[in-house]
């Protein structure tokens, strides 16, 4: 294929990215741009040319060990909900824009540490970028007709121009705003699209190879098994290899947190921390899909292609071998897009770090303080643009110089090993309060030194001084100082060897120096704030980490320089409003200092922001004790608030209870009134009758027969009065539990017979039959007089409500094991349904208050109920019983 066609495709493709970025930038809040899927896809910037091409190369020569690089992130992702959420919250709160900013802020805005982290990242990423360029250049030459890919001069090397185009893209879309903590939707949208493209094209070639060139996966396997090295390619190797696996997994575990581009897409560009929930399962799925066909492409390449070709490019060479140029071009574009996204995000992140953590704090801060806002904005943007171009150009030269020696895989791993040096200060900084800036600095330096000695020196010495033998023999001839087999461990790969020793010494020195040195107050305060982040989230502008003297006017002037007057005024207005501060306030307090520091951090990084603000304010040290006091206060406020809420809840609950009790009392009161009324009425009736009778008896001319009847009436009414009073007192006694029951064991059947005997006379008179068929003995403990009272009452009621001659009353006795049951049923007129629940209430009168009950005191059933209840039993009307009335009571046999 003509190289001009390929070149044209590349240019068209880049043009499309420009357009996409333009639209995404124009509509940054659109749901196509801001959603968890775009977020997850942007995380896939992790998959670079190393994944796209390099994995196949590794799989073809050393089997499945390529997988280790993806296992780390898969293991790390579930942890993200905890660790990453914390990192994202802290970063948003402090407007952090890069990993260097994050680490330097954790150790008290330490300028040197920020610079050191930046340099570490540069060491790690520039070779990595050149690795990407190498991939583009090599694949370009494979697909185009150009024979050799190692160019003679860079002006006729297409890779150089591609690199420049990428630089233009990043410089344009990466520096639209000076505030680096602001999101770059355009770039993220293109990265997300690129993640879709690279996966789709890679799956396409995988399917093509496996199902078109071969007859499915088993066919590839069968054919591959004819090759002699299959066993080696499909096994994990021995214990030694296990260590290599372990270390590679650790490396990639760290990388997914620490790589500048990963930090950028995962933290800085995160819109919403809830996206993490989708990402933690979607991203591993993405990685899985990406790796499904690697092994088959590798085997297919081993089978179909000659040993001499570069194994990394099997996926391109296989379609080319069959003259399938269309597919080859797709694979090329996929690789190219992979490269672009990696370079774009990496240079974006690195340029921010370089400008905010090296160039501005170390060189330009003075100029910036003196400049006006437009100039400053321009300057900051230019610093970043220059940084972007320089980074890509340096990477290009690195590629020209070293690419021949290194495979995609090894440069990738070297990059991971270097970046891993940030792990102790990053991870321990999040959890260990004692970590100090000094410890972090020395730890990183020691780690880097070891990496240099164990990894770079052997490579450089190969290029520069091929005849110096110290790599094989060890420094000064000591075998244990052999760079690639340090301390005599000879089974590790160079990268694992470098990682093991660098990270061990890094951690040890970090911990050692942190324990020996005590950070200054600022460090300790930030440490407290990062480690116990949740406690500080609600503190006003972290208002405690600064104490001193400053004037609003000075700070305003400073902000003006970077934000412009308009934005400054607006920001201060919002600030004043939020904290209710007067516009005329001259003195700046800690909150304003921190607020301004945050504003500036977005533009020029935390270290520079700190330097600038200290130039306009006089800071006095603040001790950790003070910080803790402030925290304590805030906690107390929170706690007392909580207490208040609880108290008020309690109070309202109490008020509720009071209301209920009051209601209850009112009901009781009303009931009492009603009771007294009824009692009065019931008493009045016989009294009236007696009084009237005695009055008419005064008439001396009354015939003697009539006189006797009046006297009888008086006597009967007196009895009635007596019963009534007795019942009232009895009920009173039962209600207030003042009755002593005379409990002893009795035979219930005997008691029933006694009760029947008591009413027999009336029954005979009324010609009502009382049947008690059960002959069995049921023994139970009860007060016989009282139960007799109940039975008599029930029987009297039945007698009252049954018709003469037709009435039938039946008593049933049942032994329920622990209880004894007695039922009294009659064929009388029954009780209306609506009254069945109330007949046990004293003086209960059917619905209409003014209707009198036929006879009786109106207290009988109420007394029965009290008696049964004082025996711990129950009494009720059988609602099912339809042929009259059935009242049932049960009492326990033993009380």
């Amino acid at each position: 294929m003509s190289s001009y066609v390929v070149g044209l495709v590349i240019v068209l493709y880049l043009a499309m990215l420009f357009v996409l970025a333009y639209f995404a930038e124009k509509n940054p809040k659109g749901k196509w741009v801001s959603n968890p899927y775009v977020y997850t896809l942007s995380l896939a910037v992790y998959c670079t040319a190393w994944t796209y091409y390099g994995s196949v190369g590794i799989a073809s020569s050393s089997g499945i060990s390529f997988l280790a690089v993806y296992l780390g992130p898969v293991i790390a992702l579930p942890l993200w909900t905890v660790v990453m959420r914390k990192v994202i919250r802290i970063s948003k709160q402090h407007k952090i824009s890069s990993i260097a900013d994050f680490i330097s802020m954790r150790y008290g805005n330490n300028r040197l540490l920020g610079a050191l982290v930046t340099i570490t990242c540069l060491f790690a990423i520039i070779p990595y970028i050149s690795l990407q360029l190498k991939a583009v250049s090599e694949t370009f030459s494979l697909i185009s007709t150009k024979e050799s890919y190692v160019s003679t001069g860079f002006f006729d090397d297409s890779t150089f121009y591609i690199a420049l185009l990428i630089a233009v893209f990043v410089a344009f879309y990466g520096t639209l705003s000076t505030d680096t903590s602001q999101h770059k939707k355009g770039i993220i949208a293109t990265v997300a699209l690129e993640s879709i493209l690279k996966l789709s094209f890679f799956l396409a070639i995988g399917i093509y190879v496996t199902f078109y060139l071969f007859d499915g996966t088993s066919d590839v396997y069968t054919q591959a098994s004819l090759q002699d090295n299959l066993e080696q390619l499909t096994s994990f190797g021995g214990l030694e290899n296990g260590f290599n696996w372990l270390f590679t997994i650790c490396l990639s575990f760290f990388a997914i947190f620490l790589l500048p581009r990963q930090f950028h897409v995962a933290v800085v560009e995160n819109d919403n921390e809830s996206y993490l929930r989708k990402a933690i399962w979607l991203f591993p799925l993405y990685l899985l899909l990406f790796n499904v066909f690697v092994i088959f492409i590798a085997w297919a390449g081993n089978i179909s292609l000659p040993e001499t070709v570069n194994h990394d490019y099997y996926s391109l060479l296989l379609p080319l071998q069959r003259n399938n140029y269309g597919l080859a071009l797709l694979v090329f574009i996929g690789g190219f897009t992979t490269v672009i996204s990696m370079i774009v995000v990496s240079t974006l992140a690195l340029s921010t770090m370089v400008s905010n953590n090296i160039v501005i704090p170390y060189g330009f801060i003075k100029t910036l303080v003196e400049g006006n806002p437009e100039e400053n904005t321009k300057r900051i943007k230019n610093i970043r643009r220059v940084a972007i171009f320089l980074l890509i150009i340096i990477a290009y030269f690195f590629y020209v110089k070293f690419s021949v020696q290194l495979s995609l895989y090894s440069i990738g791993l070297i990059s991971f090993v270097i970046i891993a040096q940030l792990a102790p200060s990053f991870f321990m900084g999040l959890t260990w309060r004692r970590g100090t800036a000094r410890g972090a600095e020395i730890g990183i330096l020691v780690g880097l030194a070891i990496v240099f000695y164990t990894l770079f020196l052997p490579i450089i010495s190969q290029v520069v001084m091929p005849n110096v033998k110290f790599v094989e023999e060890g420094l000064f001839g000591y075998a244990w100082l052999q760079p690639t087999h340090l301390f005599g461990l000879d089974y590790l790969t160079p990268e694992s060897n470098a990682f093991l020793w660098s990270i061990s010494f890094n951690t040890l020195t970090f911990v050692g120096f942190s324990l020996r040195t005590k950070g200054n107050y600022r460090e300790r305060n930030y440490a407290e704030m990062f480690v116990n982040h949740e406690n500080y989230g609600n503190l006003q502008e972290g208002g405690f980490i600064w104490k001193g003297e400053a004037y609003v006017a000075d700070i305003k002037r400073l902000l003006n320089r970077f934000l412009g007057e308009q934005r400054t005024d607006r920001a201060l207005q919002i600030f004043n409003k939020k904290y209710n501060i007067s516009e005329t306030e001259e003195r700046a307090d800690a909150r304003l200092i921190n607020f301004s520091e945050k504003l500036l951090t977005g533009s020029i990084g935390s270290a520079s922001a700190k330097i600038l603000l200290s130039s306009v304010s006089k800071e006095t040290p603040i001790s950790l004790v003070e910080v803790l006091n402030i925290l304590e206060e805030s906690k107390e406020t929170k706690a007392s608030n909580k207490l208040l809420v609880e108290k008020s809840k309690e109070l309202s609950a109490m008020a509720h209870q009071l209301k209920a009790a009051n209601e209850e009392l009112r009901v009781q009161d009303k009931l009492k009134d009603e009771f007294l009324d009824t009692v009065a009425h019931e008493l009045k009736t016989p009294i009236t009758s007696i009084k009237a009778a005695s009055e008419v008896l005064e008439d001396e001319g009354m015939p003697p027969g009539l006189r006797n009847r009046f006297l009888e009436n008086i006597s009967r009414d007196t009895d009635r009065l007596d019963t009534l009073i007795h019942n009232i007192l009895d009920l009173e006694k039962l209600s207030s539990n003042r009755t002593d029951l005379d409990i002893s064991e009795h035979n219930m059947s005997k008691t029933i017979h006694k009760a029947i005997k008591g009413v027999e006379q009336i029954a005979t008179k009324k010609d009502v039959e009382i049947k008690f068929p059960d002959k069995k003995q049921v023994l139970a403990a009860y007060d016989e007089d009282r139960i007799l009272q109940v039975l008599t009452n029930l029987l009297s009621n039945s007698l009252k409500f049954t018709e003469p001659h037709k009435g039938r009353i039946k008593i049933l006795l049942k032994d329920l094991g622990k209880e004894v049951l007695v039922a009294v049923q009659d064929n009388g007129r029954g009780i209306p349904d609506e009254d069945k629940d109330y007949i046990f209430e004293k003086f209960y009168q059917s619905k209409n208050q003014n209707i009198k009950k036929p006879q009786g005191s109106g207290l009988g059933l109420a007394i029965c109920k009290k008696i049964v209840e004082s025996h711990k039993g129950t009494i009720a009307v059988d609602k099912e019983f339809a042929k009259g009335t059935q009242l049932i009571f049960t009492i326990p046999k033993g009380l």
């Binding site: 009045k684 009736t685 009237a692 009778a693 008439d699 009436n713 209707i851």
Partner: protein
């Protein structure tokens, strides 16, 4: 001509005393046990006065009074409540409903007779 009085109460002992006393004073005495019975007798006999208890089964005194007042034939019949409900608001209620007088239990028969004789002129 003798005055006709209808005594309505469900307590036979009380009725018995009243009946004796009024007859002694030359009243024609009629007796009903509840409201329904009272209305029947009243329609037939058109008594001059009804002595009416309030709390009775079936139809209570208030309802009975209402019906008596709605009956054109009985427009000259006086109605007197005789009830154990002796609270002021009960008395007020009874009079408001249109009773000519309200007497409470327990009572003095002599006083009832003199009051009723006064009412009937």
């Amino acid at each position: 001509m003798n005055k006709k009085i209808l005594i309505v109460d469900d307590e036979p002992n009380i009725v018995m005393s009243l009946e004796y006393a009024f007859k002694k004073k030359d009243f024609d005495v009629f007796i009903a046990r509840d409201g329904t019975e009272a209305l029947e007798i009243a329609e037939k006999e058109t008594p001059d006065l009804i002595l009416l208890d309030i709390m009775m089964p079936e139809m209570d005194g208030y309802e009975t009074l209402k019906r008596v007042r709605n009956n054109k034939e009985l427009q000259h019949t006086k109605v007197v409540f005789l009830s154990a409900k002796s609270k002021e608001k009960d008395i007020e209620k009874g009079l408001k409903m249109g009773a000519d007088s309200y007497m409470t239990k327990p009572f003095s028969i002599k006083k009832i007779i003199s009051d009723i004789e006064g009412l009937l002129g």
